[in-house]
Symmetry: C2
Subunit: 537 residues, 2 copies
C-alpha cells in the first residue's frame, strides 16, 4: 500500500495483505498499518488498484472501513475480485467502486490519474499514472512485458514511451525479479510444454496453479480441448475465480468443455483434466488434500499426471516438495518447475526493467515490491542507465519520501508501520506480547500448577496439581511431575516457615514459578511456561 | 542410518541426525529409531561412517548408548569430529573408535569392509564397500567427483572400476542432486571468484560458510594470504573445527595468518578476512547476530564485503534472505549464490551419477539420500543405463529390503521407524501428543480458568479466574475475558440447578471447556486451548 500526497490531497495505490511468516504463530493475515492516515481521512481522494492479486487487494476488506470507505478505482476483473471480498465481509454496500479502463483518466483532487495496460500473471493489470502539478509519477504495479500474451493484450509500450516524452518525475517500479538476467519468457512457451505433456499422459491430468492465474487456466483449457479432454475444477477459489472470469468475459470456454466436479470419477481417465489449487503446498488446498489421500473426490491412481504450474514462493519450498513426494509415492507422474518449463514468472527480469526505464526515462526512481536486496539492486540498475544516484531512493516500509519538481528526493521521516495481524476475526489484537507467548508455548509447552492453601496459615491443603500440555506427555512422565510437586511443597514450606505473617501471594507465585522452572531446566534443559494458580481457602 | 544383515551378523552405515522441520515445534534434533535393533545388540559387528557431517555422525552420541557401544570405524578427520561429540556427551571413554584409511579393510563378522576415497564438501569422505559371501554392496555416502579438489585428493575411480570388474551386487548411491543435469563444478572454480571479490573489496571481508567445509576455509585462507590479509575465525563451531583440522593436518595455514578474534577491530579493514558460521541463517549463528547488529565483536560498517559461500537448504531460504537484507541495510556489499559463483555443491549431478553407475556396474541399485522424488529419479536413471527395473528399489525409511546372490531384490517388511525427537536432554519423551499440543498452543494460545466451588453445594465461591497467554493480551481484552467469566458462571449454575446431587467434576470441567470454547469462537473465531481448574472447598 502506497500513500501519495500533494498539498491537501491524498491518493492511495493498492491495499494488499501479506501471509504470515513462521514467526507469526497463529496469525492468519498481515495487513498494513493505517495509523498515519487516521487523522487525514477527509483528504483521501481515492484508492487506485493495479491488479487483483491478494498482495494488492487482500487488505481492502480491513482497510476500507478504517479509511472511511474512500472510492476504489480498478479495472473490470480487478473490481470483480474486490467485489467478492467485500461481499464476503458484508461491507459491499458501504463501498464506492469505480470501474476504469486503460487509457481513461480520473480526477482525484490535485491528481489526474490514468492507467496503462501492462502484462502480469492475472488479466487486466495496469500501471497507475499520477499527473500532479509538479510532474508525472508512475507506479508500475507488478508487471512484465509479454509480446505474445495468452489474451492477446500486450503491455502498452506506446503509452509508456509517450509518458517518457512528456517527462516522468518519478518511477515506482516492481523490483521482484531484478536478480534474474535477461527477459522473462512469454506465457506462450507453456502451451508447448502442456501440449507435449498432455499428449503423453496415459491417464488423468491434474494441473495445480494459482486460482488468479486466469491465463494459465485458459492455456490448460485450450490444450485440453485440442486433445479431446474435458476440464473439471477443484478447489473453492479456483471454482469461484474461473466462474467470475467466464462471466466477465476473461475466459473462453467452448460449450461442453467443463465437467462438474461430481462427475470426475465417471469420465474416462484419458479424457479428463483437473485444474486445482494448491501449487504452493497450502495446507488446506485441494492438491495438498489429494497428495495426502484425503480429498473427498480425487484419489491419485497410478499413471495420473500431475503438473505443478508455478514456482515455490520463498518459505513454501518444504510444503511444495512434500506434496510432490507424496504424489509420486502414490504412483503419479510429476512435472514441476526445474524438470519442465511449466511456469513462467509474472515479473519483469533485468532487461525488462531496463526497457521500462528506457521507455519512461524518469528523473527519480523509487524501487517498489521486493525484499531490500532487490530494491537496492533495482536502484543500482537505474543508476547504470544514467539516473543520478541521489535521485534513487531505497525506502523501507513507513519511510516518508519527499520529492519536488526539480527532482530533489529524500527520505524525510518515518511513519508508524508495524504489521497489523489478523487472527480469526480480530484485527490488531494480537501483538508482540501475544506472539512472544505463543513462541514460548510452542517450543516447550505449558505447566499449570494449582495449589490450594489455608488462608490463615498459608499451609497447603492438598498436594499441588500439575497440568502439562506440550511439555511432556503426562502419563509417561509421572515421576518427573511427582518430583516437581514435591519441589513446590518444599519451596512453599520454606516460605511459610520463614515469614511468620500473612502470605504474600505474588511472592508465592513467583517462588513456585522460579523453583519449578529451575528444577525442570535441571532435569531436562527445557523451559516450559509455568502458570501458578494459588487458591486461598 | 542403514542396517545391513547377513546371517547372524549386522553392520551399520552412518548414524546421522536430522534438523526438525516447522511442524516439530520446540524439538532440537531428530534421530533414527533403533527399535528394530533393540533385541539384536549382540549381533552388531560395527558402525562404519562415510564422512563427518551432522546428518551422518550427529546421531551417534544418542545411538551408541542405545546400541551397547559397538565399535565405530571412520577415517581420521571423521573420527576427530566424532570424538568431540562423544566427549561433549561424556561417553567418550565408553566408546570404541577405530581409525581406518581408504584402501584398508576390516573384518566384521561375515562382512569384509573396505573404504574408497570419494570427494565431498568435507575432507576424508569415503564410500563403504561391504564384501559379503553373496556379493559386494557399495554404500557411496555423500559424494561428487572432483578431479581438481582443493586438497589434491581425488576420488579413487580406479578402485571403483576394479569393484565393477569384480562384480557389484548392489549400489546404494547418493541421490541428492539427481535433478541437476551435467557435472557438479570442481571446488576450484570458487578460488577464482574469491580472488576477484577479494581484490575489489574496499574494506573487511566476511565469508560465511559451513564449519565443516574445510576445503572452503582453505580456499579463503589461500586467497587471503595471496592478497595480504589476515584471517580471523568467528563462531564456536568454526573455531573448533578449524582448530581440529589444523591439528590433524587437514588445513595448511602459514604462520602469522590467523588473527585472534579479540584483535579483529585492531586490524585495518582492508587487511582482514573474517570466516564465520551462519550461512544458512541459523538463528544463534555468528552471521545472524552480525546481521542483527547483535554480535559482541563484529559490527557491519559501510563498505564491508559479505560472502555467503553456500546455497540455502530447503526450508532455510527465508532466514538466509532476511540476513542478506539486514546486512545490505547496514551498507555491506553482498555476494551470494545466484549473484556470483561463491559455492558449489558437494553432491554428484546426473553425469556423475552415471559415471558411478558406469564404474561399478551394479546388478541392483538402491538409491539413498534425498527425498522420494530424487530416489525415484535416481532409480529411473539406473534403468536408463541398463539396470533391470525390478532390480531397483525405491525404499522409504524403515523398509526392509531382501537381496540374494542372484540379484533378486524386494521390500519384504517394514521396521518401526518413527522419528525420535531430542528436546533438551530428553530423548524420545516428546511424541505426537506433545507436538499436537504445542501446535494448538502456538496457534491460539491457552486460557486457564480457575473456579473455586463449594464441595457440598457446588456453588462457586468466587468469580472464576482466567489467565490468558498467547491468546489476547489480557490488559487489552478485559471486556472479552469478563464476558467469558460470566459464561462460565452461567454454565455452572445451570448444571448445579439441574443435577440436585453431588457434582461430577469431570462433567463440570468439560462443560466449562465447551462453553468457553464455543463462546470464544463466536467472539473472534479462535480456538485457544482451554484448561479448566476446579478447586473444591
Amino acid at each position: 500500500m502506497m500513500v501519495i500526497e500533494y498539498g491537501a490531497d491524498i491518493v492511495i495505490v493498492d491495499g494488499g495483505l501479506m501471509f504470515p511468516d513462521d514467526e507469526m504463530l497463529g496469525v492468519d493475515l498481515v495487513i498494513p498499518d493505517t495509523t498515519y492516515l487516521a487523522d487525514k481521512l477527509d483528504r483521501i481522494r481515492g484508492v487506485f488498484i493495479t491488479h487483483g492479486h491478494e498482495d494488492h487487494i487482500g487488505g481492502l476488506p480491513f482497510l476500507l472501513p478504517q479509511l472511511g470507505f474512500p472510492p476504489v478505482f480498478a479495472t473490470k476483473l480487478t473490481l470483480g475480485l474486490i467485489t467478492v471480498k467485500l461481499r464476503e465481509r458484508r461491507i459491499l454496500d458501504r463501498a464506492t467502486l469505480v470501474e476504469v479502463a486503460p487509457g481513461t483518466h480520473t480526477q482525484a483532487g490535485a491528481f489526474d490519474v490514468s492507467f496503462v495496460r501492462i502484462n502480469h500473471s492475472i488479466p487486466d493489470a495496469v500501471a497507475v499514472v499520477l499527473r500532479t502539478p509538479i510532474g508525472v509519477v508512475i507506479h508500475t504495479g507488478d508487471y512484465k512485458f509479454d509480446f505474445t500474451p495468452v489474451d492477446g493484450l500486450r503491455a502498452d509500450i506506446g503509452a509508456l514511451a509517450r509518458l517518457g516524452d512528456e517527462g516522468v518525475l518519478a518511477l515506482c517500479g516492481d523490483s521482484t525479479r531484478v536478480e534474474s538476467p535477461g527477459f522473462t519468457p512469454s506465457e506462450q512457451v507453456i502451451t508447448a510444454t502442456f501440449e507435449e505433456i498432455f499428449s503423453k499422459a496415459p491417464g488423468r491430468i491434474i494441473v495445480a496453479t494459482f486460482a488468479s492465474l486466469i491465463s494459465r487456466v485458459q492455456q490448460v483449457i485450450d490444450v485440453a480441448v485440442r486433445q479431446g479432454r474435458q476440464v473439471a475444477l477443484v478447489g473453492r477459489s479456483m471454482v469461484n475465480n474461473v466462474q467470475m472470469a467466464i462471466e466477465l468475459g476473461y475466459l473462453n470456454v467452448p460449450v461442453g468443455t467443463l465437467a462438474r466436479a461430481e462427475d470426475i470419477n465417471k469420465i474416462p481417465a484419458n479424457k479428463l483434466v483437473i485444474i486445482c489449487t494448491g501449487s504452493q503446498g497450502e495446507p488446506t488446498s485441494a492438491l495438498t488434500k489429494i497428495a495426502n489421500g484425503d480429498h473427498w473426490l480425487v484419489q491419485i491412481e497410478r499413471g495420473d499426471t500431475v503438473i505443478l504450474s508455478s514456482t515455490p514462493i520463498v518459505g513454501n519450498e518444504r510444503a511444495v516438495f512434500r506434496n510432490i513426494d507424496n504424489l509420486m509415492r502414490q504412483g503419479a507422474l510429476l512435472h514441476y518447475q526445474g524438470k519442465a518449463q511449466v511456469h513462467v514468472s509474472g515479473h519483469a527480469s533485468r532487461e525488462e526493467l531496463k526497457l521500462m526505464l528506457a521507455l519512461t526515462r524518469p528523473t527519480c526512481v523509487i524501487p517498489v515490491h521486493g525484499e531490500y536486496r532487490m530494491l537496492s539492486q533495482h536502484a543500482d540498475l537505474a543508476v547504470s542507465m544514467g539516473v543520478a544516484p541521489n535521485r534513487t531512493v531505497v525506502a523501507q516500509d513507513g519511510d516518508i519520501i519527499e520529492l519536488n519538481a526539480e527532482g530533489d528526493i529524500k527520505i524525510v521521516d518515518h511513519a508508524p508501520c508495524g504489521n497489523v495481524y489478523v487472527d480469526g476475526t480480530g484485527v490488531g489484537d494480537v501483538g508482540q506480547v501475544v506472539l512472544r507467548d505463543r513462541r514460548a508455548l510452542s517450543s516447550d509447552g505449558v505447566l499449570v500448577v494449582t495449589l490450594t492453601v489455608d488462608a490463615e496459615t498459608g499451609e497447603p491443603l492438598a498436594r499441588p496439581d500439575i497440568i502439562s500440555r506440550g511439555f511432556v506427555y503426562e502419563r509417561e512422565s509421572e515421576a518427573l511431575l511427582e518430583a516437581a510437586r514435591a519441589r513446590v511443597i518444599q519451596a512453599l514450606q520454606k516460605h511459610t516457615k520463614a515469614r511468620g505473617g500473612p502470605a504474600d501471594w505474588n511472592y508465592v507465585k513467583n517462588k513456585i514459578r522460579d523453583t519449578l522452572s529451575e528444577f525442570i531446566y535441571e532435569q531436562n534443559k527445557r523451559r516450559p511456561m509455568i502458570l501458578p494458580v494459588v487458591v486461598e481457602v
